[in-house]
C-alpha cells in the first residue's frame, strides 16, 4: 500500500508545486516507487516543472472518466525510473474530479507504488478538498509572513475535519510544516517571521526550511526539479526535507544570513 502525501497551502503561490516535484523526485531517487499527481485542474504546471509537458497525452481526468487507463496517462520520468507523473487537464472543469473517481485512481496506484504525492491547488476549493481527502500525510507549505501562516492554520483545521481519516475516526493525518522562500536577512531585519515565530503559532513538526533562492526559478524554467541541483541551497534544503520525511534526524540549515554576506555587501555596495 502506498502512502498518500498531500502538499497543500491556504495561500497560493507559496511553493507547493515546486515542493511536490522536489519531494517526488527525492523519494524516487532513494528507491521509492513514487507517483506525483497534479490536482490543479485547469492550471496544469506540475508537468512543466517536471519537464514532461511535451509528453502529455492523457491526463488525470481522462483516467477518471474512463477515456484512458492509468498506464496510458502516467508519464515515466526520464531521469529516474521510479518516478511517474500524472498530469492534470488544462481544459477540463474542476468538478470532473469526483471523489469516487479520485479514490479509484489512488487505489489502483497504491498497488505498485510506495508514495503518492498530490500537488494540491491552494485554498479549500474542490480540487484541494479532493487532494486532501484521501491523504495519510500532509505537508503544509508556508511562507514566513503573517497572512500565509494564518491561512496555513486554517488549512490545518480543515485537514483535521475533512478527510477520510477524520470521517472514519481513524488515526489523524500526520501534519508537517514546510517553510519556503525563507530569507534570513529579511528575518533579521524584521520584515519576515522567523522559524521560531511560525512554529510558535502553528505548533507543528517542522519538516524543513527552504531558503529563497534563484535556483528555484532557473530549475523550473528548464523543467528540472530543484532537488536535482545539488549545488544550490534550495536543492540541498529539499534533499534534507526528504531525509527528514523518511525519518532521519537532519539539522536544519540556511536559517541564518551568511556571515560573509555582510562584508561582501559592504565591498560590493
Amino acid at each position: 500500500m502506498a502512502r498518500i502525501i498531500v502538499i497543500t497551502s491556504g495561500k497560493g503561490g507559496v511553493g507547493k508545486t515546486t515542493t511536490s516535484a522536489a519531494l517526488a523526485m527525492g523519494l524516487a531517487q532513494r528507491g521509492k516507487r513514487t507517483v506525483v499527481i497534479d490536482f490543479d485542474v485547469g492550471l496544469r504546471n506540475l508537468d512543466l516543472i517536471m519537464g514532461c509537458e511535451r509528453r502529455v497525452v492523457y491526463d488525470f481526468i481522462n483516467v477518471i472518466n474512463g477515456e484512458a487507463n492509468l498506464n496510458q496517462a502516467l508519464i515515466r520520468d526520464k531521469r529516474c525510473d521510479n518516478l511517474y507523473v500524472l498530469p492534470a487537464s488544462q481544459t477540463r472543469d474542476k468538478d470532473a474530479l469526483t471523489k469516487e473517481g479520485v479514490e479509484q485512481v489512488l487505489v489502483e496506484l497504491s498497488h505498485n507504488h510506495d508514495f503518492i504525492v498530490c500537488d494540491s491547488p491552494a485554498g479549500i476549493e474542490h480540487g484541494a478538498t479532493m487532494a486532501m481527502y484521501f491523504a495519510d500525510d500532509a505537508i503544509v507549505v508556508t511562507n514566513p509572513e503573517v497572512s500565509s501562516v494564518r491561512d496555513s492554520d486554517r488549512m490545518l483545521g480543515i485537514l483535521s475535519s475533512r478527510s477520510r481519516r477524520a470521517e472514519n475516526n481513524e488515526e489523524p493525518i500526520r501534519e508537517y510544516l514546510l517553510l519556503t522562500r525563507y530569507d534570513p536577512l529579511r528575518v533579521v531585519n524584521g520584515e519576515m517571521l522567523s522559524v521560531e515565530d511560525v512554529q510558535e503559532i502553528l505548533s507543528l513538526k517542522l519538516l524543513g526550511v527552504v531558503p529563497e533562492s534563484k535556483a528555484v526559478l532557473t530549475s523550473s524554467n528548464s523543467g528540472i526539479p530543484v532537488i536535482l541541483d545539488r549545488e544550490s541551497d534550495a536543492g540541498q534544503a529539499y534533499s534534507d526535507m526528504v531525509s527528514r520525511y523518511l525519518g532521519d534526524e537532519v539539522p536544519h540549515r540556511f536559517l541564518h544570513p551568511e556571515k560573509k554576506g555582510f562584508l561582501s555587501r559592504l565591498f560590493r555596495g
Partner: protein, 264 residues
C-alpha cells in the same frame, strides 16, 4: 441548562422527517434609545470597531421598548441595512408598538411577543437582559419557542476534552458543561462552553464561557493572548485586556456582572 426540549411529539403517521423542539438562546440585543438611525449608526460604529468579529454573523434582536413614546416611525430599512453592514443578522424586534411592529413585519423581521421574553429589569448593556432571562430557575415555557434550530450538539454531554490544537476557523462548543483544551488555540478559533473553559496552552482565539447565561462560569488559561473573552455574554476584546495580563496564567470571571481578569 437553558435548553429545555419539550417531550417528543409522537407523529401520528409514524413518519419522522423532523422533530419539533424548543430551545432558548442567548442573543445580543440592540436596545434603541433613539429613533434617529444616524445617531445609532455613529454609536454602533464605535462599538463594533472594538470587536468587529464579535458581531459577524451574529443574530440580533432589536429592542424598541425603551424608545421615548411618541417618536416617529423608525427607518427599519436603514437600520437593518446598517446592522447587516456590520455583519449582524437582524432577525426580529421586540417591545415595539403596533405601528413599529407592522413596519418591522413588512421587512420580514420577526415580532417577538412579550410572552417569549420575560421582562427583565432594565439592563444597561446589550445582551444582559436576555441573560437575566436565561438564568431564571424556571424559564417560561413559551420561551423562545420561535427560535431557529439549535446548533449541533455533541452526544455524551457534560464536558469536552480536546488535545489537538484548535485552528483558525474551527469552533468548538461544549454544550452543557466544561471545555478543556490541552493544546494551543489559534487566533481565529472559537471556543464555547455552557460551563467553564480551561486552556492549557496559549489562548489566541476567542473563548466564550457560560454560553447559556451562567454568570458563574469562568475561563482559566495558561497564556492569555485572546482576541475576545466572554462570560455569559459579558465580553472584552483584546484591546481591552491590559498588557500585564497578557501572556500570563489568568482566570476570568464575572464580579457583579463585570468581567474581571485576574492573574493566577
Amino acid at each position: 441548562m437553558a435548553v429545555n426540549p419539550n417531550p417528543r411529539k409522537t407523529d401520528p403517521d409514524g413518519s419522522r422527517s423532523f422533530e419539533l423542539k424548543a430551545a432558548s438562546f442567548t442573543l445580543p440585543i440592540i436596545r434603541l434609545l433613539d429613533a434617529n438611525v444616524e445617531a445609532v449608526a455613529a454609536r454602533l460604529g464605535a462599538k463594533v470597531e472594538k470587536a468587529p468579529d464579535f458581531f459577524r454573523n451574529t443574530p440580533v434582536v432589536i429592542d424598541l421598548s425603551d424608545l421615548p413614546s411618541g417618536v416617529g416611525a423608525i427607518e427599519f430599512p436603514l437600520l437593518v441595512g446598517l446592522l447587516r453592514g456590520y455583519g449582524m443578522i437582524p432577525f426580529g424586534v421586540r417591545g415595539g408598538n403596533r405601528e413599529q411592529n407592522a413596519a418591522a413585519e413588512a421587512l420580514e423581521l420577526a415580532v417577538l411577543r412579550e410572552s417569549y421574553v420575560r421582562r427583565g429589569k432594565s439592563a444597561n448593556e446589550t445582551s444582559t437582559k436576555e441573560i437575566d432571562m436565561e438564568v431564571s430557575p424556571t424559564p417560561p415555557r413559551e420561551a423562545a419557542s420561535s427560535t431557529p434550530a439549535p446548533p449541533a450538539r455533541r452526544p455524551g454531554q457534560g464536558f469536552m476534552l480536546i488535545n489537538r490544537p484548535v485552528r483558525s476557523g474551527q469552533r468548538v462548543y461544549a454544550s452543557g458543561g466544561d471545555l478543556s483544551i490541552v493544546a494551543a488555540v489559534s487566533s481565529g478559533a472559537e471556543l464555547m462552553a455552557d460551563g467553564n473553559i480551561h486552556v492549557y496552552g496559549p489562548l489566541r482565539g476567542r473563548a466564550l464561557a457560560g454560553m447559556n447565561g451562567n454568570l458563574e462560569a469562568r475561563i482559566f488559561c495558561q497564556d492569555l493572548q485572546a482576541e475576545l473573552v466572554s462570560i455569559a455574554g459579558h465580553y472584552r476584546v483584546s484591546e481591552g485586556i491590559p498588557t500585564e495580563l497578557r501572556g500570563v496564567p489568568v482566570q476570568i470571571f464575572l464580579d457583579q456582572k463585570i468581567l474581571r481578569i485576574e492573574k493566577l
